[in-house]
């Protein structure tokens, strides 16, 4: 079996007195779509933030692509997130002052792309996600499902190695949510992006290749990684 692309080993993290992670282990292979499930407050989002270099854990290790990333400084972690990771969250993630296409182009612009190039690449996502004609809308003028697809395009536009999605369909009705999942999985697969998907909904987790359950700050894999 080859080494996983992303791995947490015995990760611990407390918010003040509250232990959120108590030794979480998790491994994701390249190209895999992993669902992280578990009850509310069990530590799913905290684990995702540690894996994505948003939070620095108190203990344990996080490895990405053969490199230990949990001890990197804020600057280096920020570069790593920009260059290698994409994000989709539950809501409130689009910048209201920007148009939909500018929102999608944002990761490219932050990565130093020329504005015209970034916008052209951003626009290419709109027909793929059934968003034709909405390129110039502001986020306040989009429905929840449309805004979520714009956020998905933004998460994937820079072709990240890993897409981190925290309850990406949590604010949508189940039909729209499944449509977004369809697009997420298809797009991630076609560009080889690995996905870490936090959800408490089994129907959403069923789009993944495999699931891990987080309970009381620990992760249990019910199914092992596929032997590769």
């Amino acid at each position: 079996m080859t080494a996983p692309l992303l791995e947490a080993r015995g990760v611990t993290l407390s918010f003040g007195e509250t232990p959120a992670l108590r030794g979480a282990d998790l491994a994701v292979d390249a190209g895999e779509v992993l669902a992280v499930m578990g009850p509310s407050g069990s530590g799913k989002s905290t684990l995702l933030h540690c894996l994505a270099g948003i939070l620095a854990p108190d203990g344990g290790e996080v490895h990405f692509d053969g490199r230990r990333i949990d001890r990197l400084g804020e600057q280096e972690r920020s570069t790593l997130r920009r260059d290698s990771f994409g994000f989709v969250f539950q809501f409130g993630q689009l910048v209201p002052e920007l148009s939909a296409e500018e929102n999608v182009a944002l990761p490219l612009l932050l990565g130093g792309a020329r504005r015209a190039d970034a916008l052209a690449r951003a626009r290419a996502w709109f027909p793929k996600l059934g968003l034709d004609g909405l390129e110039r809308r502001r986020s306040g003028e989009l429905s929840g499902g449309q805004a979520q697809r714009v956020a998905l395009a933004r998460g994937l536009v820079a072709e990240p190695r890993v897409l981190f999605a925290d309850e990406p369909t949590g604010a949508l009705d189940s039909l729209t949510g499944e449509h977004v999942m369809d697009l997420l999985v298809d797009s991630a697969r076609s560009q080889g992006t690995t996905v870490v998907l936090v959800t408490h909904e089994a129907r959403i987790a069923a789009y993944a290749d495999r699931e891990t359950i987080v309970r009381d700050g620990r992760a249990t894999s019910l199914t092992g990684r596929a032997a590769r």
Partner: protein, 175 residues
């Protein structure tokens, strides 16, 4: 789901040969488990015996062994009655899942482990059905969704029960 009622329903559309009935049954109701010809003809034979279908006049071009079956008034009534009756909303108060959990707790076995194994099995099936839904026809997708919603409600029960195992153990071992 009863084969004879399904065949009656197909015959209610139009008189048909056993072969056509099998083809349509397999396409819409077989779900990868084709109905053996023997069962088609045995069922039609029983329906004929009970006066729910009759063998119609052969048409030009029909072979000697190609009987056309026609639904009777009695057959149509039975079918309509069945169609208009809602399926029993079974409360499933004594499911296998429930019995296993309670017995595991009574015997001091690891009920949580059982629930985890069951959760994994449910999720595995849900992944398979999701794949069917993503790649199949609308008929396949709707059937898969039906299965998915049922599995999902089982899973909710599994989660709820897992969260209350200690209290349940206290109750079932108290006597």
């Amino acid at each position: 789901m009863s084969v004879s009622l399904t065949l009656l329903g197909l015959l209610e559309r139009e008189p048909s040969h056993g072969y056509d009935l099998k083809r349509d049954y397999d396409a819409f109701f077989g779900r990868g488990k084709p109905l053996p010809f023997g069962q088609v003809y045995a069922t039609l034979g029983r329906l004929a015996r009970d006066g729910k279908v009759v063998v119609g006049d052969p048409e030009a071009g029909d072979g000697p062994d190609r009987k056309r079956y026609v639904i009777t008034e009695a057959g149509a009534t039975e079918f309509e009655d069945w169609l208009s009756e809602p399926v029993a909303a079974e409360p499933h108060l004594q499911t296998v899942l429930f019995s296993k959990v309670v017995l595991a707790l009574m015997l001091g076995r690891d009920a949580e482990r059982y629930l985890d194994t069951q959760r994994a099995a449910h999720l595995k099936r849900m992944r398979e059905l999701t794949e069917v839904k993503r790649s199949g026809s609308l008929v396949d997708a709707l059937l898969a969704d039906h299965g998915l919603f049922h599995l999902e409600s089982d899973l909710r029960w599994i989660d709820l029960t897992a969260a209350r195992l200690d209290a349940l153990a206290a109750e079932v071992t108290a006597r």
